[in-house]
């Protein structure tokens, strides 16, 4: 599970950087709906940062679903395990 912990750490950092929130606030339960700075433009940029950070290509459907910390971690981890 050390791989998932690593992904969680990097996703937490990215969300904190892009959305200007303390990293300690980012974790399970952190969602688009509860975060004012999670605008559509920041979402677009967040997705592209995730793609370059983790070497992914995300489909439109996946992009629409990346609406919380948990979903992002889950999506990135699945990609990395080849799932």
């Amino acid at each position: 599970m050390s791989g998932t912990a690593d992904v969680e750490g990097r996703v937490r950092e990215l969300l904190a950087q892009v959305l200007d929130v303390p990293a300690s606030d980012v974790g399970p339960g952190f969602t688009e709906a509860s975060t004012a700075s999670w605008t559509s433009l920041n979402h677009l940029m967040l997705v592209s940062q995730l793609e370059s950070e983790f070497g992914l290509f995300l489909s439109n459907e996946q992009i629409r679903q990346l609406t919380s910390f948990d979903r992002i971690v889950e999506t990135v981890a699945r990609h990395r395990s080849g799932g």
């Binding site: 950087q17 200007d20 677009l44 997705v47 592209s48 992009i63």
Partner: protein, 615 residues
Amino acid sequence: MSLTNPPGSRALTEIASAVPHGGSWAAYQAAAHALDRLPPDAVPPRQRARVALLGSFTLDPFVPVLRVEGARAGLWLDVYRAPYGQYLGELIDPGSGLYEFQPHVTFILIDADVLWNQRWAENPPLPSEPVVGGLLTPLFAGLDAFEHAGTGLVVVNDFVLPRRSTEGVNAFRNKGTFAHTVAHANKHLRLRLTKRDSTFLFPLADVVAQVGRTHAFNWRTHYRGHVTWSDALMGAVARRYAGFALASLGRATKCIVLDLDNTLWGGVLGEEGPSGIALGPDWPGQEFLDFQRELLDLQRQGILLALASKNNEPEVLAVLREHPFMLIREEHLAGHRINWDDKAANIRALARELNIGLDHMLFIDDSPHERAWVREQIPELLVPEVPADPSLYADWVGSLPSLLVLQQTAEDSRRTRQYQESRSREAYQASAASMTDFLRGLELRVLVEPVTDASTTRVVQLLAKTNQFNLTTRRHDEATLRRRVAAGEWRVYTMCVADRFGDFGLTGVAIVAPGGRQWHLESFLMSCRVIGKSVESALLTRIAAEARAAGADGLTAEFIDSGRNQVAEAFLGRHGFAAVGHGRWQRALADGGPEWPEWITDAAGSAPAAAGDSR
């Protein structure tokens, strides 16, 4: 000369240093948020620039990148972003947010996509002329309107072919290809933007080439949300844009101080001797040769070169005079300090000798240890990181934003000689018995004239660059100047100065708003090269005489404290002005006005100058 480092400078550069070159957009975004948390008074006004962005694609993500690269250059940037896609309307409408913002610099970023879409407005696609005309005709009309209002510098990106052309080897043969359309548009941009001194063509294609086209554009974000530039391209462009902001505030580098060993040549002179150092047409000597060539090109554009090196002076002078491949010779140097003293102290001494603020100097040294020491001792000095590999020096020096040269005038190319003349002048000063004797012995000559078409560029340059003897440090651009002179609102006086040691050129400027009974000094400045020669008295006397002749009985002036222009305030006091509060000063002319210093010859003879009539 600035004695104290504004606290804001260090706070800004520290925040920016968290983002490495090539840093991700997320890192820029986080650093921009850190900038927002600085207290509002952390950055003094002279380090703040208003920058406007007008573009055809989504510019929001570029804003944090630009602000952080501005901070890296020691600037706080207030950024105005025109509403998406509204670049033409904002330019042409005097009621737009752009006009209200009064930017120091306006960047216009139009993507080649606009040309692409116009080309495909019909099928088969339209040829170059109607496509280019359809975009550039309204753009140039907008530029005309905006420039007429006279607000700051305008920088327009050239168009870049965004992807590999499908037109193959015929791309530039056939007038109907997209590559031809892009080239045609760039040709017209270049013609239009080199016409005026306040408009510039920004070589985006060069920056894209440096980043590499496949890394410069992000097609995913382009199609998802019109964010076309990659993180890497945003960073590279923003670094260069910061140079325009610096220059618009009169903060461009005026002097480069250079180390010698492993900086201007390879190896250590003291150990390897003049024949052992690497400098010449072969590897690795050519790395240093090319670096010296770049530095000499900068010197020809008016940037001074000086040396600060830990070496034995006679050995260095021998290399400067005799080494067959040395390109930088004594005549290219405005000053040098070659000894074993502390480099920071040597750089301060050079700043005093050249009369240049430390924040207008840049220090280049290959030693990380020396850089760290000097940076700590002189926080306001620019001390960029130098590549570890000398083969990168020549390419690297061209990327330093503060070396972006905006205007070149006749004075620029003469500047090094003028500093050398000033050294003989100082030797003379040490031998003169009293100040009056000294001034008398200089055989000063001045020529006061109304500004002309030819001298306008130099006047704008002095307004932008003069920080010490400058009453208001108001920067005016060429369009403003021409407009207000033409409207009769301003009389602009120029003064050329010479003495027996040499010619200083156009080094004094006054902008006067003539009123009925009171004439007002809107700007009054002397280049630092002529401070201490009393020539300011001559210029003021001329203005006072013309005011009296026109029926005025008083002069008013405004002094705006920039932290460094106390010498200009003292000038008002010495010439009979009295402070009346809020930075306002006035002087009655009932006493006949100030007196022309008897040791200064009026090169115009006794003929009265007809200020403002030449236009």
